[in-house]
């Protein structure tokens, strides 16, 4: 029995809707005077972060603590890992301490999959972002945000995103957020379009369940949600695009472009934003931009995932792909 969340592609439509519905109930805990549930009392979860990511780490930590889990934070920086200890040894050390779940962020694509399938440990593995591969809880919180905004908090319960038109803009090539979102949004029935300069789209993208466009302006009027992906300035030096200015002009979202979007359409960003690069301050601070909401929703989604994977004697999420491979 698999007890892991490694890739958004592993989730069935029903799994994903269950997670979103559960997160909706978890969100209501945040409105209570005591924002805590006893559900994971006695479970130990380690946040194993080989890459710096304060926002993802504290989001998981908040979710774990609200569910009363015992939390251990392990940052690879300054630890034995930086002295050459392998992932395997680190994982086995944690396992020996009696850890029930490992939330792992790693710079190498596939590290969480390897951790979950190599037999090194028995604990459940939750992928908090691996290289340029996957970031499934990010995709789930994005889908959650879309469902709330585009369908409604209560009206959305039990619903997927069938027919919603979602546009992802920016550095798809280096983005685990894009990969996770394409997989999950497709599973949920949305129509996904990727918009990027051709240099920032991976070879092989033609097999992905989405459309690809190089033209932002023609895509915007047909979008219910537009997700801007972070573009790191150093990509410029590797000749992915000529200059920051040219990138912003062709693929950045400013007020004028936002006005071309349908009135109900929202602007999303996984953060951290590079203002002035992929998004202007005007857009980032507008009511249509859901960045802050996404952060809040992240805690609810992670509570839902933790509850559904660890709350019982076996996980409630079926994991189509990993099960097949067994």
């Amino acid at each position: 029995m698999q007890r892991h969340l490694i890739s958004a592609a592993d989730l069935t439509r029903d799994d994903a809707v269950l997670i979103l519905d559960t997160a909706e109930e978890m969100a209501r805990v945040a409105d209570r005077p005591i924002k805590k549930l006893p559900t994971l009392r006695g479970r130990t979860i380690v946040n194993l972060f080989f890459e710096d990511s304060t926002r993802t780490r504290i989001s998981f930590e908040a979710a774990e603590k609200r569910l009363s889990a015992d939390v251990i934070n392990f940052s690879a920086k300054g630890s034995s890992v930086s002295k050459g200890e392998s992932l395997k040894d680190t994982a086995q050390t944690l396992e020996a301490m009696g850890v029930d779940a490992v939330v792992i962020r790693h710079g190498a694509s596939g590290a969480p999959y390897r951790l979950a399938t190599s037999g090194w440990i028995d604990a459940a593995v939750i992928n908090a972002g691996d290289g340029t591969h996957q970031h499934p809880t990010q995709a789930l919180l994005d889908a959650f945000t879309m469902r709330r905004r585009l369908i409604g908090r209560d009206a959305g319960l039990g619903q997927d995103l069938a027919g919603k038109r979602i546009t992802l803009v920016g550095d798809v090539l280096h983005s685990r957020v894009a990969r996770s979102n394409v997989d999950l949004l497709h599973t949920l029935g949305a129509e996904v379009t990727l918009v990027a300069p051709p240099t920032l789209v991976p070879v092989g993208v033609e097999q992905w369940p989405c459309e690809v466009s190089y033209d932002l302006d023609s895509t915007l009027p047909k979008s219910d949600a537009v997700m801007m992906l972070r573009v790191q300035r150093e990509r410029m030096n590797a000749a992915f695009f000529p200059t920051e200015r040219e990138y912003s002009r062709r693929y950045g979202l400013d007020g004028e472009r936002m006005a071309r979007m349908p009135e109900h359409a929202i602007v999303m960003h996984p953060g951290p934003m590079v203002r002035g690069m992929e998004i202007t301050a005007e857009v980032a601070d507008s009511d249509r931009c859901t960045v802050v909401e996404q952060v809040a929703n992240g805690v609810s989604i992670r509570m839902a995932v933790l509850y559904l994977l660890l709350g019982g004697n076996e996980p409630a999420v079926s994991h189509a792909r990993t099960a097949e491979e067994k």
Binding site: D15, L18, I34, L37, G311, G312, A316
Partner: protein, 204 residues
């Protein structure tokens, strides 16, 4: 995904999972008119014991307790001519048997606008069995506020308590054996009102 909506099955942690469908030889012990009558009686008892019920908040325990709470609220309103706040309290994440089953889908917790602080909370459930659901509900209430007092109303008390918990308002006391199942069906969820007493499948 297993939603385990069947409250009565999950009331008895030691017992193996009872099937959602009642055994085919189940016989009705309460029919729709009986259910309506006992709810009316309970409503009157609440008004009497709460001296007018002006600070009562009804919280139903999902799934069927919520419908019973709503019906009780309507009857209380008829009696007192005032709306009675009614909500729901999902106890899933407070259960003491979480580790014995796959995680259950969560139901809605809906606390009426003015909250529960200083009020008389009447918990409403369909079947009182081991008492563990009510213990979980009391824990859940603790995280939500501080009521003046908490009372319990159930449609059926089938006995076999495992905790020192009793109901303040009981629709029907139904002495049962552990080999029997009690299944409450309500129109809102099941299309009809009835309480069925059946036998567990022999395989168990």
């Amino acid at each position: 995904m297993d939603t385990h909506a069947d409250a009565q099955a999950s009331e008895a942690p030691q017992a193996p999972q009872a099937p959602d469908a009642p055994a085919s030889d189940a016989r009705p012990v309460l029919e729709a008119p009986d259910i309506a009558r006992v709810l009316t009686r309970i409503a009157h008892e609440i008004v009497e014991r709460a001296k007018g019920a002006d600070d009562v908040v009804l919280l139903g325990i999902p799934t069927r307790g919520v419908f019973l709470a709503q019906r009780l609220a309507a009857k209380l309103e008829q009696i007192t001519d005032r709306p009675v706040p009614v909500g729901s309290l999902d106890i899933t994440m407070y259960r003491d048997d979480l580790r014995m089953h796959p995680p259950r889908a969560l139901a809605r917790t809906e606390i009426p606008g003015d909250g529960i602080d200083g009020r008389l909370v009447v918990l409403v459930d369909d079947v009182l069995f081991s008492g563990r659901t009510i213990r979980a509900a009391l824990d859940a209430l603790n995280d939500i506020g501080r009521p003046r007092a908490v009372q319990l109303a159930v449609l059926v008390d089938r006995g076999h308590r495992e905790l020192p918990i009793r109901a303040d308002y009981v629709g029907k006391n139904l002495p049962t054996s552990l080999r029997e199942t009690v299944k409450v069906q309500l129109a809102e969820e099941d299309g009809r009102d009835t309480v069925l007493l059946g036998a567990k499948p022999a395989a168990q």
